[in-house]
Each structure stands twice: as structure tokens, then as C-alpha cells.
Symmetry: C3
Subunit: 289 residues, 3 copies
Amino acid sequence: MESPWDELTLAFSRTSMFPFFDIAHYLVSLMAMKRQPGAVTMAWKNPFSSWCTAMLHCFGGGILSCILLAEPPLRFLANNTNILLASSIWYIIFFCPCDLVCQAYSFLPVQLLAAGMKEVTRTWKIVGGVTHANSYYKNGWIVMIAIGWARGAGGSIITNFEQLMKGTWKPEADEWLKMSYPSKVTLLGSLMFTFQHTKHLAISKHNLMFFYTVFLVATKITMMLTEASPVPFGPFEDILGRMLFGYHQQFSPCTKKSETKSNGTGSSTSKPTADASDKLKKKHSKKTE
Amino acid sequence: MESPWDELTLAFSRTSMFPFFDIAHYLVSLMAMKRQPGAVTMAWKNPFSSWCTAMLHCFGGGILSCILLAEPPLRFLANNTNILLASSIWYIIFFCPCDLVCQAYSFLPVQLLAAGMKEVTRTWKIVGGVTHANSYYKNGWIVMIAIGWARGAGGSIITNFEQLMKGTWKPEADEWLKMSYPSKVTLLGSLMFTFQHTKHLAISKHNLMFFYTVFLVATKITMMLTEASPVPFGPFEDILGRMLFGYHQQFSPCTKKSETKSNGTGSSTSKPTADASDKLKKKHSKKTE
Amino acid sequence: MESPWDELTLAFSRTSMFPFFDIAHYLVSLMAMKRQPGAVTMAWKNPFSSWCTAMLHCFGGGILSCILLAEPPLRFLANNTNILLASSIWYIIFFCPCDLVCQAYSFLPVQLLAAGMKEVTRTWKIVGGVTHANSYYKNGWIVMIAIGWARGAGGSIITNFEQLMKGTWKPEADEWLKMSYPSKVTLLGSLMFTFQHTKHLAISKHNLMFFYTVFLVATKITMMLTEASPVPFGPFEDILGRMLFGYHQQFSPCTKKSETKSNGTGSSTSKPTADASDKLKKKHSKKTE
């Protein structure tokens, strides 16, 4: 017999994403897409191209994980129901008269609800990716982490690539793979679920899913209510970076030498300020996302 | 017993593409490639690179459909005969003394014949793509449409991507997925063959193949003889677009609001003129293609 | 009974690459990566991105061959031992205090040893690629050549693509697929091993592996000691190019005609000088690589 707590988390971990959480995910993704400059004009002038972009925004993570596992990237098109759902939401958002949806979405409670439900789908995606990768490589735990991360947060990579193809986005070297907060938290979750799957983490899967989802939703809503920077990771990252890569503060003479030898290390002394500006930039970009 | 008409169309639908129609397809594709600026210089300076580009021009659609279905993109290289055929045509076109081939190809009847035969291969590719996709996803009719379309008209996407990699082509946002006339007619054919395959279209496959091929060849030759713009789709597109996406003419106050809210919609009021200029651009690009 | 010579080459062809030759390969690749401008700064500012780039530099060939055969590009991540090895070497190279590794690597004998061992791994990769492709396509010898070539020298294509995504590398049309010396020698090896595999080359595989490896190491070390241009291919290429594509010297009137017809051919008269400058550029780029 199970404790009521276990029953609660077990029931939660068996929730189906299909009708409502998926709708919230599509809604948030497509509203973010609509806020991109020129998206509305493109929808008027070239609806087909806009629809393709919308599909990439809605199913990008699955497409990326399919590519990384050499599965058909078009598989998501075989799920006619979800395609129809996403397409209708795209249609309503972009072509609804007096765009009522956007005006309804502009109310904060709606945004909070949709964002929270979208974060719930993130957990399900990570778990699905880790389990799926494990069916390929039994003890390839790096692959499991990568696939869980790709399915949970890979949509941005796909959309960036699509924007690069469209020429609307010029990449900068120091922006490449600069992890936003969702990427970081997804990577953390992928790590945890992988280690739980390989029995290195002594916690049942449904409990982990419950706690991780609560953490996701809570941080997301906190960040939306208070425009605060994503708190939880800053100090850990600094400590970790200082532990792993922080030797260059101590051996200044050597770095002097290496600076003269290899160009670029010179600017590594201005790291903290650079990081601060990066954090600011990241925050802004998250707002615009 | 079948009627003579059925026998005719059946025999037509069983025509083999291999020796002659494939040659016409390679010839037209490679002549289009040779007309690109710098292609001849590149063939002289770097024959290997030019050969790779030629293979992409000849087999681009198959490569794209292989990528979309997670099949080996190099499969086309396993068909040694076709590779040899395409390579020899590439060699003759680019390195024939006094380029006799180009001079022979400059006669209009030859161009008409080759273009017509190339259009015939398009039908066969679409049918093959739809059937092949159906073997993967039984009722994934969106996948069937996409694969048929990719195999029939996806070569241009592959070559555009290759030009992007080479840096000879800078993408513009409003050019992205702007469908040329071949893409549109291929999409139409892919739709028809998919619905015929799923029994939603009450016509036998060989009849549909015959009529669609006749339509393709007739329109193509008409377009080559009279420099007219591709007539048949313009009005339908306008009507369809007005039906689906045309609300913004009626609710001018709302659009005013949404214009102030979302940048870009403002230029959607100048849609018809923009479309006209797009049509002109499209016509020119098709000429240069 | 076998001759001692056969026993020697057989034993050589059975050498395992794992611990030492792989280390040399990772070391050389990552030192080349570190010499790229900005690589060190990026490692300080964004270690995760730098690690991904390092993995692409170490396993690029395998990734490319996986993509071309529609196998999971992430398969290399399932080999935890090699990943750990490459990661630790990346860590030591980029974050070792007073970068002792770079100072040790700056001694010529160390460089020669590492470069020689890296060339040995090239042979093993080509053989593996050819054999692997043959398991897919029995008589698809073009595929075998392509896969052997991709696995042996495809890393540069992957890293170029990654730099394109990062925006640190702008492609030029005439640089595209311009084969460097490693690419050429790898293509030659892939040709030889393919023909040996299809029994068109009457030599046992272990002998061919031995001779080809000796040739690779000897030319590599000669090129490193004497800054000479890669001798062995120049004349053959000229002769081959003159035989295959050299008609345009003889029929000057025709080329005049074709020059006026097709732009670009005009510059093909200044081919030798262009080639010379290309050779120079190639030499420099090889130094910087």
C-alpha cells in the first residue's frame, strides 16, 4: 500500500499532456514568435512560410532530438491531431479579427497560467527524451542527458538555425551556445532524470517529476512577477567556474605569459564585468523572447 | 477488359524514366546551373566542387526527401548508372570543346523538348515520394504531401542551402519559402496524389498521372513560348488568401490598433502592390533560374 | 605459414588505436583549435560552448559519416571512455596553469611524434569507413569512397559549418570544397582502400595499410620539418587536369566565343596564376590550421 503522498505524485506523473498543456505550450511559443519583429507582416504576405516557422516553434525540440538520433525529422507531422491543434492556434493568433487572443493574452493571470502549464510540459519532454535515448544506448548516459536537454530546450536552437537560413539573424561568436535560463534549468533537469534513470539518484521518478515541476513553475512565475534576474544559478555557476576554470586568477605571471602568447586571454581578466553585462543582455533577451 | 483509353494511360504510367527522361532532367538542371554567374570559372578552377554542385542539382530532391525521412542522404550515390550518366552530362556541358552542347541547347525546340521531358519526371518523383512516405506512416497524409513535394521540388532548397554554405547567396527574410511556380504546382500535385492514394479522390492513379503530366507539360511549354506570368494560380491564390487571411480589410479600426501594437502590420496595408512586385521578382528569378 | 614481413604488417594492422594514438589525435586537433583566434577567450567565458567545439574537432569525421549514412550523430557520445579522454585533454590544454602543455607541445619532437601518430589514426578511420559503408551498399563503391573520405578528413567540414553557425567564418565561393592536402591524401587513400576492398587492387589489406601509413607519416613529417609545399600531388593534378579539363587551351577561338557567351570563363585564361596563388593561400591556411 502506498502513502497518499505517493498516490498524489503518481497521479500527477500520469497526467496526460494532450489537450490542455499542449495548447498552453503552443500558445506561449506562438505568442513569443508573434512578438518577433516582422512576424506579422510575414504571416500576411507569406502564410505558408509563417506556418512552417510556427511548426518549428511548436515542435522544435522534438525535431532536434529526432535529428540527433537519426529519426525522421518529419515524424511530428504524422501526429495529425497535434498539427491541427497547433495550426488552429497559429491561425487564431495571427489572423483573428481585432486580434482578440492577443488582447486576452495580455492579461497577466492568463500569461501566468499559460507559462506555468508550458513549464509542466518541459518536465514531460525531458523525461520522454531521457527514456527514449536510453532505449538506444543502454549506458550512454551522456546521450541521455543530451537528448533530454534537446527535447526540453532544443526548440530555440532550431528556430535560431531557421532564422539564420532566413537571414534575419546574424550570429555572433560570443552568443553561440550562451545558455539562457531555460536551457540551464533544462540541462539540470536532464542531468537529474538521467541519474535517476541510472539509479544513481535514490528518488522515485514520480517524486522527482513532481518536485522538479514545482521548482520550474515556481521559478518561472516568480521571474514573471518580479522582473528579477534568475537567481538560483548565479552563485553556483560562479563557484563552479572558479573551482574548475578559475586558476588564472592565482597565477598572474603565467597568464601574462600566455596572454602574450595567445591573443584573447587578455580579455579574460575583464571576466566579471563581461559576465555582468552578459547577464543583463540575457535578461533583456529573455524579456524579448 | 479495359477501354483503350485506360490501356493508353496505363501504358503511359508504366513508362520507365531511366534512360531518356533522366537525361533530359540532368540536362535542364545542369544548364540552369551553368547559367549561374561564376559556375564556369569554378568548373575550371575546382572541378571537384563543381561536380558536387552538379550532383546536388541533379539529385537534390531525393537527397532532401532522404534527409526528411532519416534515410542515408548518400543513397543516390549507390545508383552507379545514374551517377555515371549525370557525371558525363556534367562533363560534356562544362568541358566540351566549343561548347557544342550549349549551342545545340540554345535552339528553342531542343529546350522545349528537354523541359517537357523534365516535367514528366516531376510527376514520377511526386508519385514515388507519396508512395514511399505512405510506407512509413500509414495515415500520415501531411508527411506524404511533404515528401512528395520535397522529392518533386526540393532540389531548389538543397541548392539554396549549398549556395548559402558557399557564401554566394545571402538570404532575405521575405524571400524565404517564397514559393516559385514549380513549387506551387508540385505542391498541388502532391496534394492530389496524396488524396488519390488515401482514396479521397475518386480517380485511378494512372489517369491522374496522365492528366497531371499533360497539365505540367502544357503550362511549362506555354510559359516558355509566351513569356507570360504563370496564369493559373494567381486568382485562386487571391481568393483563397482573401477567404482565409483577408479579415484585415474589413476591420480597419482593429488593424489600426494592432498596427500600433505590433510593428510590421503597417506594411500589410500595402499588400497588393508588394505582391505585384513580388510577382515581378518571381518572374525574373524564374527566368534567371 | 606466413613470411615475417606479413607477420609484421599483420601485427601492425591489428594495432589498437585506443589509448595512445587517440590521445595524439585529440592533442593535435585541440592544439589546432586553441590556435584559432578567440578560442581561449571563449573557453574562459563559455566553457560549455568551447567543450562542444572541442568535441566537434575531435570526432567531426565520425559525426559527418554518421550524418551521411543516417546514423545517430550522437553515437560518439555513447563511447564514454573516449569522451572522457578527449574532455580531460581539452581541460588540460585550455585550463592548465601556466599552460605547461602548450609549452611542452611547443617542442618540435613532441609535435612530430603527435602529428605522426595522428596520421596513423587517419588510416584506421579510412579503413573503418570503407568497411562500414560496404556493409550498407554492397557494390556502392562511390559511397564507400565518400564515407572513407568523410571519416578520414570530414572533421574540417564539420568545424567549418560550426564556425559558420557561430558567425566567426564567412565562406567565400572559391574557398568552398577547395581541397587541402590532408583532404587530397585522404581521398587517395579512400580510393585505394575501396578498390582493395572490391578486389580491384591486388594487394592484401594489411600491406596496403602499412604502406599508406608510412607514406602519410613520412610526407607529414617532411612537410613539418621543411616548410615545403606538399610536393607529391602538384604535377599529377596538373597532368590530370590538363588531360580531363584542358581542352580550352587548344580551341582558343571557341573559348573566345564562349567567353563572350558565358561570363566567368574569361578568368579561366588566368588559371595558372590563380592556382599558384591558391597554392600559397592553401599553404598558409595549413600553417594556421
